[in-house]
């Protein structure tokens, strides 16, 4: 193992050992509090441009498995862990996390005091950082000079439409940085899916004659998306059932005049308590968000708040008053995390069936 450093924009440096790719990398440093699911986390496209710090102290102990890819080509910028597990392969495939990161050109660093680092990140909020070989002035200059792209969605979304064939219900998924879990849940429910690029227009969607539309999760800020996306949502929600997740939820909120604000510190973890208002039940779900909807900004004549985060009070779910259009901020497909909310996909297909009959 080679000595490497994690350096942060505020001038601090952490010494550790490199694993995965040996490349120099720069991204926003965020932390994830999930106890399990590092493979699903690092392959989730919401981490495009981000270096992920894991609060779970040992990472890598179950290797890489076929069932846990959330994208084909992960675009996270790095992994920061306390201990990299020494036993790191599993019976399904002889591939370790270290080898996987090397194949995908993602650097990792271990031996970091992640408890201290996360406490610090809670203070500073999300800041830029780099994994480098030498923590000298040059490295800090490079870090400070790096401007991260705000075209994340365009970089991770599919450039062309593609099918996920099945027979039964016909669903269009608009890909803002799709998480495979969404397609997995639709496959289980016999949906014939067409995935369209993020820039799909209402006309392109309608031409496929879908029973319903899903707006996927994705990386970055909803404010970096052009107005045409909001216009597409306003048009589609009045025509067919719509279900929006993550970034899709933030865009659905903006399209319906709610206010979205950047959170002081991003929220990533698999264990967030959320109240489902209609039945007054508490469910636990995985969250991964840097932006949140202010409940006070929601126009009650237009939208109904359906889910609320019990820790920070942010809006976790919305529904349109006039149309069968709804959204959740969290990951209903879990992967990783508790599957308390997985039946939202059943809710969606039952709406489609009701409309067809």
């Amino acid at each position: 193992m080679t000595e490497r450093y994690l350096i942060l924009e505020d001038g601090s440096a952490f010494k550790g050992e490199g694993f995965g790719s040996g490349a120099t990398t720069t991204g926003q440093v965020v932390f994830n509090t999930s106890m399990t699911g590092y493979q699903q986390i690092v392959t989730n496209q919401i981490y495009h441009n981000q270096i992920i710090v894991f609060s779970q102290p040992t990472i890598g102990s179950t290797g890489i498995t076929h069932d846990s890819y959330e994208s084909i080509l992960p675009t996270a910028k790095g992994m920061v862990v306390r201990d990299l597990a020494s036993i790191s392969k599993n019976r399904h495939r002889r591939l370790s996390l270290d080898e996987f990161l090397k194949q995908n050109n993602i650097p990792g660093i271990s031996g970091i005091d992640t408890r201290y680092l996360i406490r610090k990140l809670r203070q500073t909020g999300t800041i830029k950082g780099s994994i480098v070989d030498v923590a000298d002035d040059h490295a800090f200059d490079q870090l400070n000079a790096t401007v991260l792209t705000n075209q994340q969605v365009a970089q991770v979304s599919t450039p062309k439409p593609y099918p996920n064939p099945n027979t039964g219900r016909n669903v269009v998924v608009v890909d803002f940085g799709l998480k495979n879990g969404i397609l997995r849940q639709l496959s289980k429910r016999n949906c014939n899916v067409t995935v369209l690029p993020w820039s799909a227009t209402a006309e392109e969607i309608s031409n496929l004659d879908p029973d319903g539309v899903i707006l996927s999760t994705g990386p970055g800020s909803p404010f970096d998306m052009p107005n045409s996306v909001l216009e597409m949502i306003q048009d589609i929600q009045s025509k067919m059932p719509l279900f929006a997740i993550g970034l899709g939820h933030e865009l659905f909120a903006l399209a319906n005049n709610a206010e979205v604000t950047e959170m002081a510190s991003e929220h990533h973890g698999a264990n967030h308590p959320i109240r489902r208002i209609i039945t007054n039940q508490v469910i636990f779900a995985a969250e991964g968000q840097g932006y949140a909807i202010d409940p006070k900004s929601v126009d009650r004549d237009q939208l109904i708040i359906t889910h609320i985060d019990l820790i920070n009070g942010t809006v976790q779910g919305l529904r349109h008053r006039d149309y069968p259009a709804f959204s959740v901020q969290f990951f209903p497909d879990a992967a990783p995390g508790p599957d308390d909310a997985i039946d939202i996909f059943d809710e969606f297909v039952e709406i489609l069936d009701g409309n067809r009959e």
């Binding site: 209609i278 007054n280 359906t306 006039d322 069968p324 059943d346 809710e347 039952e350």
Partner: protein, 178 residues
């Protein structure tokens, strides 16, 4: 032989979806009242009212329509005589209200026809909409539901049994082959 076709989770979701559809359809919940047909229709009506209260913070009046000669082990829609429905136990007016009529199973439509007469005898509502947990087909009257939990196309040789937590100890819909 009984076969479960709707489990507790699916029943919860169906009631949740019906609740949202009621809000969509009525553009809110102003002037809404809910009438459930005894016995299980009334419990379903209460659950929809509870959901509306959770979402909108407003208590919606819920009434129970009595069905005469009702016995637990006999189909509502008996082939021999049409059921009689009375609104004697409803303690609010339906005059000018938007009524949501709730029952568990929609079959021949004869119970609903009788329920409509009983409601109209009470006063002149602005509108009446029908919410049904299970539509099993085989209508004998020109009646359809506005809000349907689940369509279960069935044979007339079968029976549909709806169980609710409040009196049956479980939420489920079963098909029973006679």
């Amino acid at each position: 032989m009984a076969k479960a076709v709707v489990d507790a989770m699916a029943m919860q979701r169906a009631l949740t979806r019906i609740t949202y559809e009621i809000i969509e359809h009525n553009k809110g919940i102003d002037d809404l009242v809910i009438l459930g047909v005894k016995t299980r229709g009334f419990y379903l009506a209460q659950r929809i009212a509870n959901r509306l209260k959770q979402l909108e913070g407003t208590e919606i009046p819920v009434g129970e329509l009595d069905i005469s000669m009702y016995r637990d082990d006999i189909e509502h829609d008996s082939k021999e005589t049409d059921p009689k429905v009375t609104a004697e136990n409803v303690d609010f007016s339906v005059e000018g209200k938007k009524v949501i009529l709730v029952d568990d199973v929609l079959y021949t439509g004869r119970t609903i026809r009788a329920a409509l007469s009983a409601i109209i005898d009470m006063g002149r509502p602005e509108s009446i909409n029908l919410a049904i947990l299970v539509d099993r087909g085989h209508r004998e009257l020109p009646i359809r539901a506005d809000f349907v939990g689940k369509n279960i196309p069935s044979s007339q040789k079968e029976r549909i049994r709806v169980s609710v937590e409040e009196i049956d100890g479980r939420d489920a819909v079963d098909i029973i082959h006679k």
